[in-house]
């Protein structure tokens, strides 16, 4: 007999308000709710509930709520309830625990302990409603392109043509209306409608979304100028047209939620157009190896970077995405010297469609620290202009976003936040493929629940709201263009940090003058 694990959540139904419309039972893909004709009552099987709030949201009389079960073990500060239950599950199954979305552990947040500055008296703040407030950015190499065979040369090229005009040629860059992008989520891990929403919203907003490693559905080539196409270790769905379709190509070396781990799309999700787009046999498991098997070191990365540049006619910036791990600064420096135009760093709180729980919760480092040390390292080496830095891994609000830019990021990636705008309630059950919100599923009746018209509008609203907030904060600082905020760490102050933490972030203590 299996060790029994008591349900984590309880469905609470207000019987006075429940009118037995059965919307809950029709909407729950986990089959929690059912209608009992004999008693003319709705019933619930708590053990199946993942707490996704689909029933709560749709219940027309608001008769439902989900509460955390107060069932308890003998209180133990060392053995938490979750730890005990997970142990039982493993004793039952003998397997690796799987989970989804970002690290939920109470690790310290550095964003929450950073505070922003504003102008008073000596320098006027600027009203973004009355004065221009610029958020446009370009991502990519700012220095002239080095030819493949060249050493890193320090010679400064003559800036003018013989006729006295400026030489204006630049390396390929991505233009964004604001320093924000939707991070990589593959078609397969998320649904067609989720991809459609992201692609349309990115286009409306003048930013980019990222295909993830599952290829690009033929319907979405039309959004190419606002698409970043990803090349991951499984090489799914990659062909010449695909590389050419996007505004940039991203080589995915790692992911914040599961550094050092590849990907695994189960055969039951790899169906129909997903399999077609990935160019894999239908129903087969689509497995991305942990490393790229043609990249065992930095010099191999350089070859892939230049292969992709050549394949795209040197017209697209190449992004290399890595997970924030202990040696991230040195790795980033190596990437910058490998010819990459943009480095994307994903912090340990980044989301995922499925990852081993222990890895998600224990591997990697916070994005704030990774960003601070990479930015500082690239500057120390004088190569910060050779690459743009994009960071992700739990940018939860415009405040996190603004702080990341002030720490030195050229732009931020958001994904969990974007999915939440699409309806995700962070139940962290993506790996079950039964997403009740039509996001992380391929079941047609569930996918249908995400109407891209609504999804697009919510994404556009969210990003516009953040952009307004960015402008307000910049205006308060007396800054009217976002490049003057980038790396402007004097606009940050720390509360509740140790000296070492402040040193690592390159910020001063609140109350300390500049």
């Amino acid at each position: 007999m299996d060790l029994y694990v008591y349900p984590e959540f309880e469905v609470v139904r207000n019987e006075k308000k429940c009118i037995c419309c059965q919307a809950c039972s029709r909407q729950c893909a986990n089959l929690v709710h059912s209608y009992d004709e004999a008693t003319d009552c709705m019933e619930a099987d708590d053990s199946k509930c993942v707490n996704c709030h689909r029933c709560v949201t749709l219940c027309p009389t608001k008769a439902l709520k989900i509460v955390k079960s107060d069932h308890t073990f003998r209180p133990n500060a060392n053995w938490s309830q979750a730890t005990i239950n997970e142990l039982y599950l493993q004793a039952n199954s003998g397997g690796v625990l799987l989970s989804s979305m970002g690290n939920p552990q109470p690790h310290p947040s550095y964003f929450d302990r950073l505070l922003l500055n504003a102008s008073q008296v000596t320098n006027p703040s600027i009203d973004p409603l009355r004065e221009p407030m610029e958020t446009k950015v370009f991502l990519g190499r700012k220095t002239p392109v080095p030819p493949l065979e060249a050493n890193n040369t320090t010679a400064v090229p003559e800036p003018y043509n013989p006729d006295g005009t400026l030489k204006t040629e630049m390396s390929p860059q991505i233009e964004l209306s604001m320093p924000l992008m939707f991070s990589a989520m593959s078609y397969g891990s998320i649904s067609y409608n989720a991809h459609a929403s992201l692609a349309r919203a990115a286009t409306q907003l003048g930013i980019c979304y990222n295909t993830g490693e599952g290829g690009l559905h033929k319907d979405f080539y039309q959004y190419g100028p606002n698409t970043i196409v990803q090349v991951a270790s499984g090489r799914f769905g990659i062909h010449a047209d695909y590389l050419d379709a996007g505004a940039a190509v991203e080589i995915k070396m790692g992911q914040g939620a599961k550094p050092g781990i590849g990907g695994h799309l189960p055969g039951k999700k790899n169906v129909g157009q997903v399999a077609q787009t990935r160019m894999t046999p239908e129903g087969s498991d689509a497995i991305s190896p942990a490393p790229h098997h043609d990249i065992y070191s930095i010099e191999d990365l350089r070859q892939l970077v230049y292969s992709l540049k050549e394949a795209t006619g040197n017209r697209k910036p190449i992004i290399v995405k890595i997970a924030a791990v202990h040696n991230v600064a040195a790795i980033a420096s190596g990437i910058a010297r490998s010819g990459a135009d943009i480095i994307a760093i994903d912090g340990f709180r980044g989301g995922t469609g499925a990852a081993p729980t222990r890895i998600r919760d224990n591997v990697g480092i916070p994005i704030e620290l990774a960003l601070a040390c990479v930015d500082a390292r690239l500057r120390d080496e004088g190569i910060r202009d050779d690459v743009s830095l994009v960071v992700g891994g739990s940018i939860r609000s415009s405040a996190d976003w603004i702080k990341a830019i002030a720490l030195g990021a050229d732009a931020c990636y958001i994904a969990t936040g974007a999915l939440m705008a699409l309806g995700c309630h962070l139940c962290r059950s993506c790996h079950t493929a039964l997403c009740n919100w039509g996001i992380a599923t391929q079941r047609p009746d569930l996918v249908k629940r995400l109407n891209p018209e609504i999804g697009t509008q919510h994404l556009v609203n969210l990003v516009h709201a953040w952009q307004h907030e960015l402008k307000e904060v910049m205006g308060g600082m007396g800054i009217n263009s976002v490049e003057a905020l980038r790396g402007n760490r004097l606009m940050l102050r720390a509360v509740g940090m140790t000296k070492e933490e402040m040193n690592m972030l390159g910020v001063k203590m609140a109350g300390e003058s500049a």
Binding site: S119, V121, T122, N123, P124, I126, E131, P132, E134, K136, F138, K142, V156, E158, P159, Y160, T165, L166, K167, T168, M170, Q173, R379, G382, R384, D385, G408, M477, G478, I479, N480, S481, E483, A484, L485, R486, G487, N488, R489, L490, M491, S513, A514
Partner: protein, 373 residues
């Protein structure tokens, strides 16, 4: 000598001090050499824009006898510091003359450091060994001495250009001018600065103008992009040891004009770039140039209020921020170009001046000696 080591107040450079200011400049386009009297009179009118915590001047064409030598102006905290610094200078330079800069007692100027100048040229052997051009050699020397927190803590390079010099002190600018007897110098260009810092230990090195090589900058404002600019500049060997906007602006100009080879007109387009919406409306050629400059050098965009005067050999540039948040007027009369924070500062020395106007936001007004045109 003022000794700050026992006080709790931090010296400029340890702490960033916002300040408001007055600035004024006079430039003779035909190269006429005129005394420093006018510039003292001009800046004195704007007494209320300073608070006695810093004033200074830069003069160009003032050392015709030694015009081919780098005129290195130094502040020393003590004789001991002077000894150490001179050993360093001797290691890299030969000089034809070293002397105390002449000053006169003034009741309002106190706690003067030792003020010296050297007319120097790089030692050929050292210069060859360094494998860099002469100007870079001199700039690096100055930057390193000023960033030295250890042996040369008590020595500061105040200016190091050819045939120019910076004279500054703790006090009201008009008093500073008298202290240095500037009416006895003649130059074709003068700029002046009166400072209104919000708090200061009253340190001489913190007064302005700030200079590197023959660039000198006087600045009124507080730039909000400071740390973004500073951290970018530090990639290229600059150490913003004074933590002032003026220092950062000087390095921006040095980096773009001297190291990257951009014309000053284009340097101004980087620092006070037009808005993207303005660039959108330009013709294709202009749009390409402005877009390139913002994309390539966006990290050196300067935001927040500023109006600056940049002195350089043979010219003067006046530039205001992109929103025009600090006052600046300028005008011509006969052979001279005048610019100042307030019109009264010009009228005080040139009552008959016509056509005084405010340059537009982000508009660079550059005047050069006629012989250089």
């Amino acid at each position: 000598m003022l000794d700050n080591t026992n006080t709790k107040v931090q010296l400029e450079g340890k702490v960033r001090i916002p300040s408001g200011c007055a600035i004024s400049g006079i430039f003779a386009q035909d190269g006429e050499l005129f005394s420093g009297r006018d510039i003292i009179t001009s800046i004195a009118v704007m007494h209320d824009r300073s608070n006695g915590l810093g004033g200074g001047f830069a003069g160009y064409g003032i050392y015709p006898k030694h015009k081919d030598k780098y005129a290195i102006h130094m502040f020393y905290d003590s004789e001991d510091d002077r000894g150490k610094a001179e050993r360093r200078i001797n290691k890299y330079f030969s000089y034809v003359l070293s002397e105390q800069i002449p000053t006169q007692k003034h009741p309002n100027i106190k706690d003067a450091p030792l003020i010296y100048r050297y007319f120097a040229e790089p030692l050929t052997e050292q210069l060859e060994k360094a494998q860099i051009d002469e100007r870079e050699y001199v700039a690096r020397f100055a930057l390193r001495v000023n960033a030295d927190e250890d042996e040369l803590k008590g020595a500061h390079v105040i200016s190091c250009g050819k045939n120019m010099g910076i004279f500054k002190a703790n006090g009201f600018p008009e008093d500073v001018g008298e202290f240095y007897k500037l009416d006895e110098y003649k130059g074709y260009c003068w700029t002046a600065h009166g400072r209104y810092p919000t708090n200061t230990p009253g340190w001489w090195g913190g007064a302005h103008p700030f200079g590197l090589l023959d660039y000198s900058v006087v600045h009124n404002g507080e730039i909000s992009s400071y740390d973004a600019n500073r951290r970018y500049l530090e990639m290229f060997g600059y150490t913003c040891s004074l933590q002032t906007d003026t220092e950062a602006i000087t390095y921006i100009v040095d980096y773009l004009n001297r190291k990257q080879g951009l014309e000053l007109e284009d340097v101004a387009k980087v620092m006070a770039a037009p808005f993207w919406s303005t660039i959108e409306r330009m013709d294709e050629k202009e749009k390409a140039a402005y877009t390139f400059l913002r994309r390539r050098y966006g990290n050196l965009l300067v935001t927040g209020p500023f109006s600056i005067m940049l002195g350089f050999t043979g010219g003067l540039m006046v530039l205001g921020d992109r929103l025009k948040l600090r006052s600046m007027v300028c005008g011509h009369q006969q052979n001279k170009f005048y610019a100042a924070s307030e019109e009264c500062a010009i009228r005080a020395i040139c009552p008959e001046i016509q056509g005084i106007h405010s340059p537009r936001s982000g508009e660079a007004v550059i005047v050069r000696l006629e012989e250089n045109k």
